[in-house]
Symmetry: C2
Subunit: 210 residues, 2 copies
DNA sequence: CTTTTTGAACTGACTGGTCAGTGCAAAAAC
DNA sequence: GTTTTTGCACTGACCAGTCAGTTCAAAAAG
């Protein structure tokens, strides 16, 4: 027992199998939901025997929980990186927010199924992975809240804003716009979508200009 | 015999039973998801026998579909009413948007379980009620899009805004902020939440003021 | 009025099928 | 030779949907 011996993300055989299972599970669960997706389906889609699923994960729920952790970890890292990059480039907090919106869009564009599944589970109660979800949600939202709070401190944002609520609203804006984009207008470019959201963020909607 | 003698030709008893089943189903499905919720549970929560569920609805899926139609109908009517009331009062399109945000919050405050369940299903594919969901979604979003479009026409909004995307983003803003409010800060008042979202809508976030 | 009939609404035990999870021997990979 | 995967038979719980039978209030008959 050892897989942690590989220094940097290099996959052992076991790690590769787990990755295949994540990918199979994420699309199936996004489409059908957790309960409607069978372990047999996941194994088949991953090209693996059912026994292998249970060799690698204690249960279906555990597979799902680790999938959640895995995915939100990627998102959080991406958001954090976007915020830090603008800071390094000397940008303000508005720029940081804008960069995080873009990072969010890129993430959703790359992992639409994961996003879908995450949204579907986020406000549920009475489910086994409830606590996992809370922890992981907080990690992601905290990045947005941090930028807002810093913006208030340095005077860039009004100190009357409600940090947690504004963070939720911003996340919702990006989330729903992106999912609708994927579902109903997939031909549009990311830049296009990003531009529309930037306009909204900066209150450039209710200015007459045409 | 002939209970249908009642004025509208609709049996009250039957309607009352259906209502009880909607109420039972909506909370259970919001908590657990459609597949994880059993018909036995729904019947028990509603205080009726399992057979009654099947006497009133062709199947579990049909019950769910009618529940969706029922709920989104309420929301759509509420949004439309909010928009029309501001128009009657001589308000502009920004006021209409603001009133619709409030109407959305009121709806979510009153029917949190329905909202939750709706969000969880909205972007799924390969489900039996997919087409029903598309239709009702469009009804609701169309109200927001209509106000935006009118605002562009009368010059109140920039004609550079992307109407469908902006509508999605606004819906997402309200949806996620409200669900997070319900889940994580239920003690806060609706006015409070409304004020925070108004501020965001009107771009009064990045104005230093404190 | 009283008795009988009607049928919509409801009941709950039952059925047939599904699925998470197990067990294990043999093969493959490393 | 150790770890991982395979294939597959098996089990026991669970569950959607069915159906023969019950209830009861209102209508019809007497």
């Amino acid at each position: 027992m050892e897989s942690s011996s590989a220094t940097a993300g290099v996959s052992t055989r076991r790690e590769a199998t787990r990755q295949k299972l994540y990918e199979a599970a994420v699309t199936l669960i996004a489409e059908q939901g957790f309960s409607a997706t069978t372990v047999d389906e996941i194994a088949e889609r991953a090209g693996v025997a059912k026994g292998t699923v249970y060799y690698n994960f204690a249960s279906k729920s555990v597979l799902f929980e680790e999938l959640l952790r895995h995915g939100v970890g990627l998102l959080t890292a991406s958001l954090r990186e976007a915020a830090e990059a603008t800071a390094r480039a000397g940008g303000g907090k508005v720029d940081a927010l804008d960069a995080m919106i873009r990072a969010g869009l890129v993430f959703i564009d790359r992992y639409p199924a994961f996003t879908q599944l995450y949204v579907a589970e986020l406000w549920r109660t009475n489910r086994a992975w409830q606590s996992t979800l809370m922890v992981v949600r907080q990690q992601a939202v905290a990045v947005v809240e941090g930028v807002l709070r810093e913006g208030v401190e340095n005077g860039e944002f009004s100190d009357e804003i409600d940090v947690p609520l504004t963070a939720s609203a911003l996340v919702g804006m990006v989330l729903v716009a992106a999912l609708d984009w994927q579902s109903f207008q997939p031909e549009r470019s990311l830049d296009d979508v990003h531009a529309a959201l930037s306009r909204l963020l900066q209150g450039r909607v209710s200015g007459r200009r045409g």
